[in-house]
Amino acid sequence: MSKIHVTTSVNGDAVEFLCDPRETLLDVLRDRLGLTGAKEGCGTGDCGACTITLDGRVVCSCLVLGAEAEGREVGTIEGIANGEELHPLQRKFIEHAALQCGICTPGILVATKALLEKNPDPTETEVRYWLAGNLCRCTGYDKIIRAVMDTAAELRSESKELS
């Protein structure tokens, strides 16, 4: 099978790769680009472990082809921190002990970051339903929701200070 040449951007860096026409973006990220933060939990779009953003939109990378990344902007968990400095969301997840085995964490963080960019003041119900597609088998979700609400509050007060 001939490979496809794809030019794209991942976490702001220009990236080129060759992939099979039927290869998922998840496999490209993990196997070709060495970005193993996105995980495969189901491969069918039902668990959210593979969550990334494509042009700022939350998608399951297991349902996107590598070829579809052409000319788009891909955002992954690896791009959330600013060098050594954690994003507030990452800090709050640690503070609230919002993770156990941690394998759902990358997907949940990517999905939540996108939510807070769209809606800086979500209600708890909005958070719950936004994250309903991100399964976590360990935590029971309580601490995750607390961490998200707390981050949202912090980000709001920061942006108030700035304005």
Binding site: R30, G34, L35, T36, G37, A38, K39, E40, G41, C42, G43, T44, D46, C47, A49, T76, I77, E78, I80, A81, L86, L89, Q90, F93, I94, E95, A97, L99, Q100, C101, G102, I103, C104, T105, P106, L109, V127, R128, Y129, L131, A132, G133, N134, L135, C136, R137, C138, T139, G140, Y141, D142, K143, I144, I145
Partner: protein, 781 residues
């Protein structure tokens, strides 16, 4: 002191940045091959012909292995050597691995594995409990029976009786990280295996058997799992062994991970049970005698089914002192997936049996189930005195019970905590008021009915296979005072490594950052038990403590001698070693000891004391101690559709003197939600041909974020452990799973608001189940 602190999980930073490595994330060397299984399509039959030519012709396929190609042992059973890795002539369930494809990519291997042309001679498949009973298809020679007193006579004499049967469905672990293994061939025929396993020593053992080498030629490593829940106690054997065999044959690294659907089809689950019960009781609901018949569907191979079924029997008293009890257990062999360990290990099934009985009794007498529960509780023994507040037990349950506070298997319950926990939880959850409000709501609302229920948990801690209650550790102190710590426990998200590191840090009086937590490695600590039975921190914490104390004593002796002081005068605290008036930093002390030619490396070992019992007779002390907890759940159901949700949950759980309250509360919350999932939405459906029809998250529903209770109050009981465990803490992995039982009972309560009959819900109480039960209760049958 680093213990008792809510320090974050050791790898939290790696997790939030996506850099924590699981087995599938380990960079593989060039040329790594991938393995996939070709699976049986029928539930029972002999293989007449297996044509694998088409499989071999797929581009990228390097090798295809069948049972005949296995160089030595072809077995992945953790117990009875009855589980061939690749089928030998007969297939026993849909999904059984028959051949393995080794290819240059994961996808190529999986696609090729579908192309096997297999002809079978079909045999009758035994799929259900009824079919197995009819065919007398079972493990062990007959049912096991544990008994205390004469239950039949006691029930016969009692003024009231309830009789019932109910079904409890199986449960898929749904660890978010599927099973995975990576085998790396070494020089001289040695093998290194990375396996997502709770039991590295077993992987080592099975790989060595399959390669025909001594165990010393195999090293197994696991840094972390993406969830285990018991599903990685024995179910990882197949992947590790086939990778090792393929790696040995090709001399290339070989890797395997199950796709989610394959994982759900191939691997064992929580045992589904049927429980029949008969109980006799007085006007107040005090149980005189109870009989249970438990039927466990074990699947085609024995795996861990015997100890699972034992534990179900051992928990059929839960929190209640049963004067007379008889428990009969059938371990049935069926042509379905071989069921295995799952959080609680049979305990939940046993426990929900007696909770159902108590609920049924309360319904029959029209009493509040909480009162009936409290009346039947074990008594609190004097001299416990460790936890506060501790209100006295209701007087009627105290009299005459002190001498006989024993379980049906003869273990004295010395540490009963539930009287206090119950009182405190009823208060904090505002149970009485809410119960009254719900009754009012139900009187006014026809469509949406609400229900509330309380459920207690008493869970026995220790492996019931007594020899497993041992652990080892290896600790090094380097010249700069940094500490390298290793033990036999595995990390699956429960925070074991962090807890044990806190123990090490507090023994040396140093900050926890100075302790390096390293991957579990069979080359460092040998002959370990699985990280299971909630025993991880109990066993490994003690082993690490022993190792640290050995080194500490050596340093203390050396420095005491130098300063001509008694050893007892040397103190390790605040990052320092204080010897009389002289203060060394821990690093200085380590360097001095090194210069003085003192060994700074030690092993530690621990075995749980006091446990001893006879599992055939069901008599003795299988458990070192009990862990307790209680929950109150409120639910609402839609009587027109059966839809339901949890509105509020309050939990008070006993973790003894918690080693890390944040991690422990996390365990409690996650366990409750998983337990509630087991009993509500998680339904596994097999069709008449024995095929699992719910093998992905699209059809198998674990609780999602949107299902979290609106109000979720979780607290730890301010208690201790009367036994000498590590810093008097208690195991916390499994016990809170059973707190989810209150969700099931609350649904039953809501359904019972629709009519007079007892709802007799089966588990899981899916929308369909609830809907059917509402109809039943309304029609008064």
């Amino acid at each position: 002191m680093s213990v008792s602190k809510s320090l974050a999980h050791d790898a939290a930073r790696l997790h939030v940045t996506g850099t924590a490595r699981y087995v599938d994330d380990i960079p593989v060397p060039q040329g790594c091959l991938h393995v996939a299984f070709g699976m049986s399509e029928i539930a029972h039959g002999t293989i007449v012909a297996m044509n694998l030519e088409e499989v071999k012709s797929v581009p990228g396929v390097v090798m295809v292995l069948t049972a005949d190609d296995m160089p030595f042992a072809n077995d992945v059973s953790p117990s009875a050597h009855d589980e061939p890795l690749l089928a030998t002539g007969t297939v026993h369930y849909v999904g059984q691995p028959m051949f393995a494809v080794v290819a240059t990519s994961h996808l190529a291997a999986r696609k090729a594995a579908r192309l096997g042309a297999v002809r079978y001679d079909e045999l009758t498949a035994i799929l259900t409990i009824d079919e197995a009973m009819a065919a007398d298809s079972r493990f062990e020679e007959g049912p096991r029976v544990y008994q205390k007193g004469d239950a039949a006579a006691a029930i016969g004499k009692a003024s009231h009786r309830v009789v019932g049967t109910f079904e409890i469905g199986a449960q898929e672990h749904f660890y978010l990280e599927g099973q995975a293994a990576l085998a790396l061939p070494q020089e001289g025929g040695d093998m290194v295996v990375h396996s997502s396993t709770q039991h590295p020593s077993e992987i080592q053992h099975k790989v060595a058997e399959a390669l025909g080498v001594p165990m010393h030629a195999v090293r197994v490593e696991i840094r972390r799992m993406g969830g285990g829940f018991g599903g990685k106690e024995s179910q990882g054997n197949a992947l590790a062994v086939i990778c090792a065999v393929a790696a040995q044959a090709t001399q290339l690294p070989c890797k395997m991970r199950y796709d989610r659907d394959d994982d759900m089809i191939i691997t064992g689950k929580r045992h589904d049970f049927r429980i029949e019960y008969r109980a006799g009781f007085d006007d107040e609901g005090r149980i005189a005698g109870v009989e249970f018949v438990q039927y466990a569907r074990c699947g085609w191979a024995q795996d861990l089914s015997l100890p699972v079924a034992d534990r179900a029997m051992l928990h059929s008293d839960n929190a209640y002192l049963l004067g007379h009890a008889r428990i009969e257990s059938h371990r049935l062999k069926t042509n379905t997936v071989s069921n295995t360990a799952y959080r609680g290990f049979g305990g939940p099934q046993g426990m929900i049996g007696i909770e159902r009985v108590v609920d049924h009794i309360a319904h029959k007498l029209g009493l509040d189930p909480v009162d009936v529960r409290q009346r039947n509780y074990y008594a609190e023994m004097d001299g416990g005195g460790l936890s506060a507040p501790r209100p006295a037990a209701p007087p009627e349950s105290l009299s005459g019970k002190m001498k006989n506070n024993t379980t049906p298997y003869g273990q004295e319950v010395e540490d009963f905590e539930l009287h206090g926990i119950t009182e405190a939880l009823l208060r904090s959850s505002d149970y009485e008021r809410r119960k009254a409000a719900i009754a009012e709501w139900n009187a006014e609302n026809e469509v949406i009915k609400k229900g509330i229920a309380f459920a207690p948990v008493k869970f026995g801690i220790s492996f019931t296979l007594t020899f497993l209650n041992q652990a080892g550790a290896l600790v090094h102190v380097y010249q700069d005072g940094s500490v390298h710590m290793n033990h036999g426990g595995t990390e699956m998200g429960q925070g074991l490594f962090q807890k044990v590191a806190q123990v090490a840090a507090s023994r040396f009086g140093i900050p926890v950052e100075m302790v390096k937590i390293t991957a579990t490695d069979t080359g460092k600590v040998p002959n370990t038990s699985a990280t299971a039975a909630s025993s991880g921190s109990d066993l490994n914490g003690m082993a690490v403590k022993a190792a640290c104390d050995t080194i500490r004593e050596r340093i203390a002796e050396f420095l005491a001698k130098r300063h001509q002081l008694e050893v007892g005068k040397v103190r390790f605290a605040d990052g320092n070693v204080v010897v009389g008036s002289k203060v060394y930093s821990f690093a200085e002390a380590a360097a001095e000891a090194y210069m003085g030619r003192v060994s700074l490396s030690a092993t530690g070992f621990y075995k749980t004391p006091k446990v001893e019992w006879d599992r055939i007779k069901g008599v003795g002390r299988p458990f070192f101690y009990f862990a307790y907890g209680a929950s109150v759940t409120e639910v609402a159901i839609d009587t027109l559709t059966g839809e339901n949700r949890i509105l509020r949950c309050d939990i008070l759980h006993d973790a003894g003197e918690s080693l890390n309250p944040a991690l422990d509360i996390g365990q409690v919350e996650g366990a409750y939600v998983q337990g509630a999932g087991w009993l509500t939405t998680e339904e596994l459906v097999w069709d008449d041909a024995g095929r699992l029809r719910t093998h992905a998250p699209s059809t198998y529903k674990i609780p999602a974020c949107s299902d979290r209770p609106d109000v979720f109050n979780v607290a730890l009981w301010d208690g201790s452990n009367r036994e000498e465990t590590i810093y008097r803490s208690k195991a916390v992995g499994e016990p809170p799973f059973m707190l989810g039982i209150s969700a099931f009972l609350a649904l039953s309560d809501a359904v019972s608001a629709c009519g007079d009959a007892y709802p007799a819900l089966n588990a899981p109480a899916t929308a369909e189940q609830v809907w059917t039960a509402v109809r039943r209760v309304r029609n008064g049958v």
